[in-house]
Symmetry: C2
Subunit: 249 residues, 2 copies
């Protein structure tokens, strides 16, 4: 194997409503799976409140640390929508009316409807490029390695789908899952030995509890299809040897 560049990413979920428990985040899993598919490795996600200092500091921390950053939430017209201004502040650039977004809004809103609050949504950090919103009106934007998207899942998904093929990822991560009804404690030793022989694979063990029964999903992930297939065969053999009934998913 030759060393290959791993392209990394961070997701920032911005919004008090997630931290209060009012809203269950529905965006992370979608972005995570999408990044996986284009060979970008999601290294962390953070949920942070609508607090300017926290947003600015966190954006600056993660954009230096990872190849890509994706934010969700806080780009609407109300007083608590401060993501866009905060990203401008993080990049040290003015927050200005984006000519293209302005044109879009002039075409979409009737005269008199384009009030001050809505016009805020046509502002971006200077130098940003727009991300198309195929569902509603306000666009997202990209500046540097930071992609700023909406919080409403249907809108976020439309935005993410429109940019994900522009990301420069590495080889996509492939995965295989073997499920069985053996408890983790019985598989652990043998599985650890397989992991030690396949340091290039990431082998995870995920217990589950369904219909009154505990079971375990064994997930193998890697970029090399042959190594992945070989590791999976070993896991299947281990489960059989321990008296389990391996199911490939």
């Amino acid at each position: 194997m030759t060393a290959e560049k791993i392209v990394t990413a961070s997701v920032l979920i911005i919004g008090n409503e997630i931290l209060s428990g009012r809203t269950q985040d529905a965006n992370l899993a979608y972005i995570a799976a999408g990044l996986n598919g284009v060979g970008v490795s999601l290294r962390e996600a953070r949920v942070i409140p609508d607090v300017a200092d926290v947003i600015v500091a966190t954006v600056n921390e993660v954009r230096a640390k990872f190849d890509y950053v994706f934010t969700t939430g806080g780009i609407g017209p109300t007083h608590d929508d401060i993501t866009s201004e905060c990203v401008a502040k993080a990049f040290g650039v003015p927050w200005t009316l984006h000519p293209e977004a302005h044109k879009l809004f002039l075409a979409q809103y009737k005269p008199g409807e384009l009030n001050e609050a809505r016009l805020r949504m046509a502002h971006t950090p200077e130098g940003a490029t727009l991300i198309r919103n195929p569902v509603s009106r306000a666009p997202g934007f990209r500046i540097g390695n930071v992609f700023v998207m909406a919080g409403i899942p249907s809108v976020m998904q439309g935005m993410f789908d429109s940019i994900k093929h522009d990301l420069k990822g590495g080889r996509p991560m492939l995965s295989r899952t073997v499920t069985c009804h053996l408890p983790e404690g019985v598989i652990a030793k043998g599985l650890g030995e397989i992991q030690a022989r396949y340091p290039d694979l990431d082998i995870g063990s995920y217990p589950f509890y369904r219909r009154g029964e505990f079971g375990t999903s064994l997930v193998l992930r890697g970029r090399d299809a042959e190594r992945l297939a070989a590791g999976t065969e070993e896991v299947v053999a281990l489960v059989r040897e321990l008296g389990g009934d391996p199911i490939r998913e």
Copy 2:
């Protein structure tokens, strides 16, 4: 109003399966709502991978920054379950067999079943106190201000419920929601004015899209019931004035 101490918390969701998009986290919203109910303010959440250095550094960062830290995931018997050892390392204490957990395991497992992998789950950072697991076998634990819990939602919920009343929170955060079918862009100006008059309340505006219709939920949160009621009346009046039909939820 007198200044009151706000008790803060951070949640660490530990697990590659969340970052790969394989699993949708189901724990954050539960913990968030529970903390809210006992007057603890959740200030951030992070999803981090099963990587020792990252876990150790993150635990040390957040335990210094917040009053309480809650972790989920990574306390099973397999090679990828490294949370417990990492927390010991973060606190700079040995990772040792916990006598009480050992006793529990000796009573629960038949002779021969308590193998090395399972015995790992009876280890904790030295000085930790156990968190009861009402669903399966392996306990969680608390050390200092850090609470270490399982990742399986049913188990995590049982653990969290068993410790949440021991937390020393402030006055609980109360909330009121007013829903309407006005777009955010119409409400924004008046809502921002109400927020400016009620700096002690946290007023959020959350657009939604249901059955082909956009609408907005206006959520007011605060610790003082009278101020909250007064602010809510102003929001209801604003929606009416703008021709909307406010629904108190």
